[in-house]
Every structure is written in structure tokens, then in C-alpha cells.
């Protein structure tokens, strides 16, 4: 494999975890709920996967338990934001703080233990014969799942009536309530499913990307995912490319270290963080004259009795 293929492969494997988290975030925000708990939920997803896989050695059971755990955190956030109508930003920060603390607390016994896992790969033998596409034969099933998921979510959000209802709930909850859509049910469902996807992001991170638990191992990926939601303009297909772009940047620093550039590794590790800010600045500047396409009631709780 040549250099371009190597970078592409690294971008895909580094970006897949981000992609799951971004898709989860898009579902949350489309329903009108900001979820800043991404980092915490990813960490919980990762630590639960590590603990249960080391116990059971069963990938399927681990996956299910992880979904339940991250879904519960999502449920907590949903309860605070939708039923209690607390400040969504502070609630998300609390999820992250609590998740970070709890994951470190739970993961103390499995810290640094290598996880002997092999994720099944789909090997399309057809692709092997085509020279450039041969990297695709290296991809595991979760990468295919994430690609399929972004297409499915795109179709769901833009081509089905449920997707339109979702847009209505995020843009104008009182109108959708009048239409007979249950705003509360819609928001709960999407926040919990979104949180589960963030959990999958943590699962992928620990099962494939770096298979042993380290405290705070997401190192800001959850926050980069939140930035990517804006960068992707709430569109799952753009999210796919955005995630791979950042996955590539993430591994770029690592690769440059191997080629022995004369830059201290500390500065190379800053690349993804600085790039996030620069990319957001660029997209803010580029879209400065366009109307904001952010869901219009993002961050506002819906209070039925306050319709006027």
C-alpha cells in the first residue's frame, strides 16, 4: 500500500468512532436537545465495553450491555432537559463530569489491561482485485455499519415522514404538538438513541482503535464530535466526510512522528484541536450570509402550557 492509501485507511479507522458520536449528536440536536455529554457517554461506553468483554469474552453481550448503559445516561439527560426542563448546557456538562468520574471509578480494575478482541471483517474478494480499492477489504464490520448508518439516517431525516416530524419537533415544537406529534416522546426517543450511538463510539474506540482502557482515553473526541455537528450542518452524509477528515488529522500527527520530523510531538498532538477551531472559523465565515440551519428551538425546553 502506498502513502495515500495508508492515510486513507488511517483516516477511516480513526474517523469511525467520531462518526458514531457525530451521528448521535445530530439525532439529539435535530430533536432540539443539545447534548454536551458526548465525552462522558463515550467514556462510559468504552469502560463498560472493556469490563464486560474481559468478563464474558462475548462481543454481542458486551455490545448490548454498553447500549443499555449509554442509553441510561441519555435517559438521565433527557429527563433533566425534557421533563424537568433544566438548562441543557449545564445538564450536558454534568453528564460529562459525572461520566468522566464514573468511568474512571469503574475502570480502575481494568486500567491498562489489553483487550484480546478481534472484530470480524467483511472481505469482499471482489475489491481485492482492484488495486486502489483494496484498502476497503481491510475494513471491519463496524466501519461498514457506520457508513450504512449515515446513509440510513440521511434517508430517515430527509425522505420519510418521521424525519419531517423530527425536523418539526426541533424547529417548532408547539406547532408539531398541535399537529398531533408527541414532542416529549419524540425528544426522549432521539436523545436516548443518540446517546446509544455515542456509546457505540466509545465501544469502537476501545474495541478497535486502542484496545485497552486508560482514564479519559477519549481525550476530547466527544467535543470534536460536537464541533463536527456544526461543521456537517446537521447532515449525516457530510458528517461521514467530516469525521474521516478529522480521523485523518488525528493519525497525521502520529504518522509524522514516525517519519521523524523535527517538531516536538506535543505540537503535533495539538493539530486536531487547533484544526477544529480553524475549520469552525472557516465554516462560520463561509456561511456568514446564509440563514442559520441550526434547529430553531435548539436548547429551548418545550413547555406545553406556555403556548401563546
Amino acid at each position: 500500500m502506498d502513502m495515500v492509501q495508508l492515510i486513507l485507511a488511517a483516516a477511516i479507522s480513526g474517523g469511525t468512532s467520531l462518526l458514531f458520536a457525530v451521528l448521535g449528536g445530530i439525532l439529539n440536536e435535530k430533536a432540539g436537545v443539545i447534548n454536551l455529554g458526548t465525552e462522558g457517554i463515550m467514556l462510559i461506553g468504552a469502560v463498560i465495553s472493556a469490563i464486560f468483554y474481559l468478563q464474558t469474552e462475548n462481543l454481542f453481550v458486551t455490545f448490548l450491555v454498553m447500549l443499555v448503559a449509554s442509553g441510561l445516561l441519555g435517559l438521565l439527560h433527557a429527563f433533566l432537559c425534557i421533563t424537568i426542563r433544566a438548562n441543557q448546557i449545564v445538564s450536558g456538562l454534568a453528564v460529562t463530569l459525572f461520566g468522566t468520574g464514573l468511568s474512571a471509578y469503574l475502570g480502575k480494575s481494568v486500567a491498562g489491561v489489553p483487550i484480546p478482541v478481534s472484530i470480524p471483517k467483511i472481505e469482499p474478494s471482489l475489491l481485492d482485485s482492484i488495486p486502489f480499492l483494496s484498502i476497503f477489504s481491510e475494513l471491519d464490520i463496524f466501519i461498514w455499519m457506520s457508513i450504512a448508518l449515515s446513509i440510513i439516517l440521511y434517508l430517515y431525516m430527509y425522505k420519510t415522514s418521521w424525519g419531517l416530524h423530527l425536523k418539526a419537533v426541533g424547529d417548532n415544537p408547539s406547532t408539531s404538538d398541535a399537529m398531533g406529534i408527541s414532542v416529549t416522546a419524540f425528544r426522549y426517543f432521539h436523545v436516548v438513541v443518540g446517546a446509544m450511538l455515542m456509546g457505540v463510539a466509545g465501544f469502537y474506540l476501545i474495541m478497535v482503535y486502542s484496545p485497552n482502557w486508560i482514564e479519559g482515553m477519549t481525550s476530547g473526541r466527544g467535543w470534536i464530535a460536537i464541533a463536527l455537528i456544526i461543521f456537517a450542518r446537521w447532515n449525516p452524509i457530510y458528517a461521514l466526510f467530516g469525521a474521516y477528515f478529522f480521523g485523518g488529522l488525528d493519525s497525521l500527527g502520529f504518522r509524522m512522528q514516525i517519519y521523524n520530523f523535527d517538531i516536538p510531538s506535543y505540537f503535533l498532538k495539538m493539530i486536531p484541536y487547533l484544526a477544529t477551531i480553524l475549520v469552525l472559523m472557516f465554516s462560520g465565515w463561509k456561511n456568514r450570509h446564509k440563514p442559520s440551519i441550526e434547529p430553531k428551538s435548539l436548547g429551548n425546553p418545550y413547555f406545553r402550557e406556555q403556548r401563546f
Partner: protein, 371 residues
């Protein structure tokens, strides 16, 4: 309800169906004016302690013993109390910093990075100006710390005002950048050549250290922090600027129509916010650590968010809440020997924040009899 009910007295029916006769002739009524009260933070702390007790039990330990031990560790001896205050000083300053930003809904979660830059700025004085007259060091170090923190805060504010970039993301990304910069300095550029494997700079000379109070580890930074509280409280309540901030926080559209410039205020507030965190960093290196070193902040910038919210963004109340959270950290250290990991106290902090924000809203409900 009466005919002329305004939307400020809104009744929430937990049972949706009104046609059936009610089993319980009561309903919950929500009134935002009755929200809150001094007992909400106390009750939230209590509930959070109970929630975390469950996790202690799961770990096979007795929560009552753990909590008693934590309390004794933090407030049970003069050493514990002085340690608690030492931890409360940076929390108080960072808390003041984030609170002023939250008052106008600028979500600065970058106090951690601004704190680190303040520590780096203060240390830079000792590294680059080794031959200054002794008395000049402390003022110069503190000023450099404030300036470095303020500039780091400006890096968060400028993308927000000119490129519509969400300040939450920028400020958090800059935390990671600041942490990597700190690690580069303490491991490579400024590392003490005589320090063997210790990741830190050369120790400061006595002229570069803040004076201690008595024979404790308590330092004069306490006075600076309390002074900052008084100045900020005065500015927020007694000046035109403070009034403009209040208006911006309460109703940005009305503020805009009244001719208050949002962008100008964001820049100023973020500089003050970053400056206060930077001040905390400068005080921490010159008052406690005595050098710049790896892990100079055990997450003060993040913990400050809780300090600020527990105090409902009120500068005076933050003296109490920073002492409480400082005690929590010191107490957390003292139960570490019993096998409870240090991450327990950050878990407890998260739980307190959950209970606090939900308690705030729930406290607005009153049980009311239906006629």
C-alpha cells in the same frame, strides 16, 4: 384557575386526562418566581451524597464511614482546614471567572486552559528574567499570569465575535492545547536539568514565592482572592457596566435595542474571565507549587464550573461553595488510602451538578388543592 391567569402562573397537570374525576384533589403548579432558595444547593448536595453512596456500597465499603472520614480530613484538623483553603483559592478565582461569563450566557469552559496559561506566564518571568531585583518578581509574575490568561480567553472570544464559532467548543479545544503546551514546557523546554526524572522547572527562589500566612501552607493569595470577590461584586452590582451585563444576560434582544454592544461585552468579559483564571494559575505556582510542573492543576478549571453554579453565580456565595468543594477534594485525598479512587470526587461533583439544576426547577413547583 382564574380568568386572567398570566403565563407566569402556569399549572402543570401531571395527569393529562381532565375528564375523569380526580383521585387526588391536588395538582402541581409551576411558578418561576418561587424557584430556588438557599436550601436548594444544600438539599442537592445531600441528594448527591446519597446517590454516590450507592456506588460506594457497590464497591463494598460503608458510605457513612467514608463520608465521615472525608469530612474529618477536610475540616477536622487545622492542617485539613488550611489545605482546604489552599485548594479553595484557585477554585474561587476560576469560579469568579466562569461565573461572570455565564451571567451573559457565554459558556466559557476553558478556565482550565486559562489557569495553565497563567501558571506558564508567571513562570516565564522567572525563566527569562533571572536577574531582576527581588521585590519586582511577584508583581511582575502576577501581572504576566493575568495577561496570559486574558489573552487565552481572548482566543476563545474572537472566533465567537467575528466568526460565529460556539465558544464552548473553542474554549474546550484550547484546554487541550494549553495542557500539551504545559507538558512540552515541563518535559522538554523548561525542564530542570538537575531534576532527574521530575517533570518540572527549577524551583523558584524565595523572592518569587508569595508570603505564607503564619507557619501554614496558607499564602497571601487568599487575600488577593477575597479582594477579587469584593471588586467583582461591586462592579456587577454598583456600576453601569454591571447593569449592562445584567441586561445582556436577562434579555439580549432588549439589550441590543438599548444600544448595548454584545461583541464588545463578550470580548471584555472573556478577558476578565481568562484573566481571573490566569491570576489563579499565577498564584498557584508562586504560592503553593513553587515551580511549574506536570499536573499543576487537578482540574480546577472544570471544578470551578460547579463552584459557580452552586453559588448561583453570586460572587460572595462563591466563598462558601469554593470552601465546600475544596473540602471535597481534600477529603477525597484522605479516603484514597481506604481504596476509594480519586475519581470519586469528580463523580460526586457531577452528581451535585445534576441534583442542583433539577432541584432549581423542581423547587418552582407547589402542590395546590383543586377546588
Amino acid at each position: 384557575m382564574s380568568q386572567k391567569s398570566s403565563y407566569e402562573h402556569i399549572s402543570v397537570d401531571l395527569k393529562v386526562d381532565n375528564r375523569k374525576p380526580r383521585m387526588v384533589p391536588y395538582k402541581f403548579e409551576y411558578n418561576p418566581h418561587k424557584k430556588g432558595g438557599w436550601w436548594v444547593p444544600l438539599l442537592s448536595i445531600f441528594v448527591a451524597l446519597i446517590i454516590c453512596a450507592v456506588f460506594i456500597l457497590l464497591n463494598g465499603m460503608n458510605p457513612i464511614i467514608i463520608y465521615t472520614k472525608m469530612f474529618q480530613g477536610a475540616f477536622g484538623s487545622s492542617f485539613g482546614i488550611s489545605e482546604t483553603i489552599v485548594k479553595a483559592i484557585p477554585l474561587l478565582l476560576c469560579g469568579l471567572g466562569v461565573a461572570i461569563a455565564y451571567r451573559i450566557a457565554i459558556w466559557n469552559i476553558g478556565a482550565e486552559g486559562q489557569f495553565l496559561l497563567g501558571a506558564i506566564g508567571a513562570t516565564a518571568v522567572t525563566i527569562f528574567l533571572p536577574d531582576l531585583p527581588g521585590a519586582l518578581y511577584i508583581p511582575l509574575m502576577l501581572i504576566m499570569g493575568i495577561a496570559a490568561g486574558a489573552i487565552w480567553g481572548l482566543f476563545t472570544a474572537l472566533p465567537r465575535t467575528y466568526f460565529q464559532v460556539n465558544e464552548l467548543i473553542t474554549s474546550l479545544m484550547l484546554n487541550y492545547v494549553a495542557l500539551l503546551l504545559l507538558n512540552y514546557l515541563v518535559y522538554e523546554a523548561w525542564r530542570d536539568p538537575a531534576g532527574f526524572n521530575f517533570a518540572g522547572t527549577t524551583e523558584f527562589t524565595p523572592y518569587q514565592m508569595l508570603a505564607n500566612i503564619g507557619r501554614t501552607r496558607l499564602h497571601i493569595g487568599l487575600v488577593f482572592a477575597l479582594f477579587a470577590v469584593a471588586v467583582l461584586a461591586f462592579m456587577l452590582t454598583k456600576t453601569r457596566w454591571g447593569y449592562e451585563l445584567k441586561l445582556l444576560g436577562a434579555n439580549p434582544i432588549a439589550a441590543k435595542n438599548a444600544g448595548i454592544k454584545m461583541n464588545k461585552h463578550i470580548l471584555i468579559v472573556m478577558m476578565i474571565s481568562g484573566g481571573l483564571a490566569g491570576f489563579a494559575g499565577a498564584i498557584e505556582v508562586s504560592g503553593v507549587a513553587g515551580r511549574l510542573m506536570y499536573g499543576i492543576s487537578p482540574g480546577y478549571g472544570y471544578t470551578a464550573i460547579i463552584v459557580a453554579w452552586l453559588a448561583k453565580l453570586n460572587p460572595w456565595a462563591m466563598i462558601m461553595t469554593s470552601l465546600f468543594i475544596g473540602g471535597l477534594i481534600v477529603g477525597g485525598y484522605s479516603v484514597q488510602s481506604m481504596g476509594l479512587p480519586l475519581s470519586f470526587s469528580s463523580m460526586l461533583q457531577g452528581a451535585i451538578l445534576f441534583c442542583l439544576i433539577s432541584g432549581e426547577m423542581i423547587s418552582g413547583y407547589r402542590l395546590k388543592k383543586i377546588n
